[in-house]
Amino acid sequence: MLRKIVTNPLFWLTLVGLALASVLPLWVSGYILGLLTVAYYFGVFSMAWDLLFGFAGEVNFGPTFLIGLGAYTAGILNGHGVSIPLCLAAGAAAAVIGGLVLALPALRVRGPYFGLTTVVAVLILQNLIVVFAETTGGEIGLTVPDVISIDAATNYWIALGFMAVSGLILYAIAVSPVGLILQASGQDPVEAGALGFNVAKHKLAAFCVSAFFSGLAGALLVFYMGTASVGTLVDVSVGVQVIIGAVLGGRRTIVGGVLGAVFLIAAGELLRPLGALSTFVVSAAALAVILFVPAGLLGILTRQGQRA
């Protein structure tokens, strides 16, 4: 088992990547650190999403439903004087509960209907936030009184550490026997059932795990930014970015999501001088990778790693 890990190029890549990332605050400006902090939280969103799509075979078009639940629960509670750690726990719990309420009926329907249900969930959440503007801040957004830290490097390291731990846990689940059963359930649910596996139970568990990390990351992001708004956390377009990040990084790789998220945010920033055109260029690049390199960015990297 240990030898398998040591000979895996992915392991070394990840280790080198993390080491480089952790010393980055010594070199780069606070502005770039801020960008990467957001990118790391988006990386967690993408990794959590990949557990559902890449392993359980369910396309969740509404990752922002889970993220938004976590973010707004934490933000609103903090506004009522609850401490940050409790808010984070509550945010994660709200995402899991919301995820369960959504997934229990939604996993009963087959094929594209699951995806549709998740989109509708996002739209409903978005509407509720606008309707209950007094509590949620509505379209203007919610301002939270507390932030974790005002130091860019501290925030950066928290995000990096959180991402590393989340990635490790999600990856461990994915390669464990449970991950194997999940993949079987995603690929051929009839056969998985005939082998004695409760497909619904496994998919539901995957949904809960995905919801937990999405909600927690959403809550942490609120306490980094100091605000929560529909446009940055809940809107369907945000969800699309999470999905593109995961697919771009590499489906069924979990850690690929981080690469995808960093790429999207970095590219968006680098191309900012292009103005409105930058979105187009980033989208075109993402489309090209998805069409021509289905294994994603991580697929390219590990193949090179194996050759070396």
């Binding site: 689940i173 026997p177 082998l195 004695g196 496994h202």
Partner: protein, 503 residues
Amino acid sequence: MTAAVLQMPSQTPLASPARPLLEVEGLAKRYGGLVAVKSIGFSVKPGEILGLIGPNGSGKSTVMKLIMGLERPNAGSVRLDGTEIAGWPSHRVARAGIGIVFQHSRPLHRQTVLENIKLALLPDNLLRLFADPGVETRARAIAERVGLGAVTERRPSTLPFADLRRMELAKAIARDPKVVLVDEPFAGLTSGEVADFSQLIWGFRDEGKAVLLVDHNVKSVAALVDRVFAMYLGERVAEGSAAEVMRNETVRRVYLGGSIETAARPQSAFSGEPLLKIENLDVLYGKAQALRGVGLHVHEGEFVSVVGLNGAGKTTLFNAISGLVAHSGSIAFAGEPLSRRTPASIARGGIVQVPESRELFGEMSVRENLDLGGQHLPKAESARQLAWLFELFPILKSRGGQMARTLSGGEQQMLTIARALMMKPRLLILDEPTLGLAPVILEQLSKALERLRQTTPITVLLGEQNVTFALPHADRVYVLEHARIVWEGSPDRFAAEAGTGYL
């Protein structure tokens, strides 16, 4: 049996026959108006192999699904070692001790063969993040037993077809079930592989498991089974030893038909170049060869039947003609090769296929389905065609406003054929139109085809496993067996020369 007792004198002879491991009673299943399974009952004892036999659409696969919990029965009981399991979800049925070897499955492509086998050894437990160390050893032992020992580290996609079937068998062995269901054990295998698989299935019997083999004809499993239970149209038609069932009058009638009146016109009546000419047609589905060197021709105005059992390659042949599957070899229609044309352009060119699965627009009315077929015709012509079709299938006229999915199976089949005829095809391809239809409907359909043949100059290519239906209208018959054409001739010679394989 006696020899075994003599060799082991310590073993006491069984005082009473062993209690059945699997008991099925009064099992019934309806899909909408279609009764797929009607009050089926049988039992399998430990160490016994029962063959569940029936032609396409007889309900045998449904029975298997009902036992496995993949479908819920409307009535009846399934008892496993005395425990009632009818209506349980499949994962509970599997844990209670029933295993299934699927004919087709999607293995985990990114994992090795060994990991695929390990999967079957895992408990249904969310908290088990590390597998037992024993799992690895057991998976290897099972791989050896089924003959996969040399390829455990390979990915399933690199394996030949037979090894994929071995892997499915390995997964069933890994669950160590009391009852094993095997779906079409020998489909797509060579004779050497058939011998290997027979040994493995006998292995189940020697371990005292009850085995249920599901297959479409008696002959293919006769050497393997202890008993045979034959089904037709959801009902039991015969039960007994393989030889008894093959001698059974009803079984013979179901598979071969009684005395069939044929009305073949000699081939010389159709002059000139054939309308459809196929030479050296090969089709591969991944590892499995679905068609091998098939040659066939149909003249303008001729009615040609292709007879073959389930899995022989009929649908593949038709899909190749319609341009739906990749193939090598040549297919020419009216003298022009079809190889570079899209399915849509082939259909517009006059080849219209009525698929086995019917593919009606269920949420549209009968009229709308027909109008869709006549979309490209001028209005007046479309109306004329419709009037003619209502004459051919009067029942469709009275059902004009009804939604297509609410029709009975036979009416749906007529609507599918009528919709195809709205396109005014030069060549009509009918793929198993009799699938799942009751005898009385068959007769109506048969009469409609007869009228069609007599009143129009249409050219028909019919694929059937129901010989009784395929022969009466045919001018010429081809027999397709294991991906090859093995016989060609006039229908009156069929029973004598090619009939024995169809029991």
